[in-house]
Homo-oligomer: 326 residues x 2
DNA sequence: TTGTAAGCGTTATCAT
DNA sequence: ATGATAACGCTTACAA
């Protein structure tokens, strides 16, 4: 691995001149430039990006931390961030948080030590006070889930409103006992959606029945058991599935327990299933795009005042599954 | 941002001693250690990972380059690599190659300049001679698609065999005119699968008819048009879809043109659709895991001789779509 | 137009 | 057990 110094010696110039050639500095005579370029060729010189990065004090990398990249929702966020980052000549470091909250802090602090240019986080925990000192130096944006105990740029969906309209939609179909299916009671998005569900019931003068709420239904067996329980005579006559993983897990069990269902979060082929699934659609790519955009903006104008919280609207897409099967 | 030098001054020791404390060097007296630790606390010292990285000459990062992380197949590869990398305290840099082959070289060389610890690539091009000089210093493993004009560790599936058995399966159902649907004729995996399809036909004494081969069917309209063409009287009586994107794009059109179909690549909910889709299943996570494992092994034992090429078996999962609808 | 000197923050080497 | 010095490869500031 040839260094700049070696190229300089070979070309009979100083390292600085090699640097100038490399960075297209106009203050180099054509002959010198040529000689340097030849030496670079001969020595197969490749600049060591680590040195440049170190010198500059900032790594041209944005981090994106998500619970799980295999989930198409988070994959879309990562993809959008990467796309925007690339336009700024930034690379993207992906951090899978996993569904274990204990890992989050250690993993994030470890990447932040690398002097990132920015960080996008879809967190799995609810206390982000530990990011406070970092946020002062590195732009950090939260997506999908708001930070806890920390003021930071946040891009989320209207979880509460979406859940409210999904529930109201089922109520409009005449249902008074509606089941609630979700992944985990600790996820901020789920908390919001549960709120939306409850407020929709309240707005319709319907009681909230905790026995109709099922958490952890992310696998087919669990989702099937939940649907079976809900399908009992004293159970529910319809279901609101508060996240796409649960909806996808519940779909097979719908054959045995054909309850009307609305899901939060669209997913591939939802419109092709039998029945096709009515969903509240949201836009993960928009979250990623906006967050990355914000990082860039914060880096360019650290002093500028911007709205911290952006809430994206969601849309109910009515398909077949919300209607009672005949 | 306090530096090690500042901590040293505060604690009244030399920077090297601070370094020793940081790295748990036993040659530090308990009192000194304590004093240093206090100073670190006071100054809220955080080591600058960029400096350490630069000093070491190697970045604790593995790159993973895939055509598209939103594709669950590639997401699974990335995920598996990240998981394995994490066990070695390595971060994962994701590089989306996109479906534009022109980008590959520039993007890969740019990240390689960062002195990665390793690189996993699912390439979009077929000539990788430009990686030769890099491969001498950095472990590079290819996944899903073999490299062209370069000898490197390669982990792929039995594309040809899988396509052969899928086609043979349809032939076994009495079909003699079988359509072929795929993304792009240039993708190495597709080339192999086309070969497998052709050889299965040949083995059964059936002619190959180029008019039954449709490329670019990755979107619903294109896939629908292809199926419509195939469904004509002089067309095909069954279809082999050579990749999951095409299969998913073709599914909706199956309602209008209910041709028996076998797809290469399983996908979420394939078993729940009506009809459920018969597929050749493969294992992207295994590719990622093996490739990452290999990078680690190459780094640890540069001299060791290992089999360059690993071909993973695939499995036909028979569901409903391979049978003629009644 | 070109070069010199210094430094980014950490660690290896060699003293003491 | 601790420290002085140099070095990693590049770029900035300042000179010539």
């Amino acid at each position: 691995m040839a260094t700049m110094r070696e190229v300089a010696v070979a070309a009979g110039v100083s390292p600085k001149t090699v640097s100038r050639v490399l960075n297209d500095d106009p203050h180099v005579s054509p002959e010198t430039r040529l000689r340097v370029e030849e030496s670079m060729q001969e020595l197969a010189y490749v600049p060591n990006a680590l040195a440049t990065t170190f010198r500059s004090g900032r790594s041209p990398v944005v981090g994106v931390a998500v619970p799980d990249i295999v989930d198409p929702f988070f994959a879309a966020i990562v993809n959008a961030v990467e796309e925007r980052a690339l336009a700024e000549d930034l690379s993207t470091l992906v951090i899978s948080l996993g569904h274990d909250p204990a890992r989050e802090r250690a993993v994030l602090e470890s990447v932040l030590r690398r002097q990132l240019s920015g960080l996008v986080v879809a967190p799995t925990t609810t206390d982000h006070a530990y990011l406070e000192p970092w946020a002062a130096r590195i732009p950090i944006a939260f997506v999908d889930r708001a930070p806890g105990r920390l003021v930071a740029d946040t891009f989320i969906h209207d979880d509460r409103g979406g859940a409210h309209s999904a529930t109201t939609h089922l109520i409009g179909h005449g249902h008074t006992r509606i089941g609630f299916l979700a992944e985990s009671a600790d996820t901020p998005t789920i908390v919001e959606r549960l709120e939306g569900y409850r407020s929709a019931l309240a707005d319709a003068g319907l009681p909230f029945d905790a026995s109709l709420v099922h958490f952890g239904a992310t696998t087919r067996p669990v989702a099937a058991a939940a649907l079976e329980a809900l399908a009992r005579p004293d159970g529910a006559t319809a279901v609101f599935s508060a996240d796409a993983r649960c909806t996808m897990a519940a779909v097979p069990a719908l054959k045995a327990h054909p309850l009307p269902l609305v899901g939060f979060g669209d997913f591939p082929l939802a419109d092709v299933l039998t029945p096709s699934i009515t969903v509240v659609a949201h836009d993960p790519a928009a979250l990623g795009r906006l967050a990355a955009e914000r990082l860039v903006e914060r880096a360019a104008h650290p002093e500028r005042r911007l709205r911290r919280r952006t809430v994206l609207p969601v849309t109910l897409i009515e398909r077949e599954s919300c209607r009672t099967p005949v």
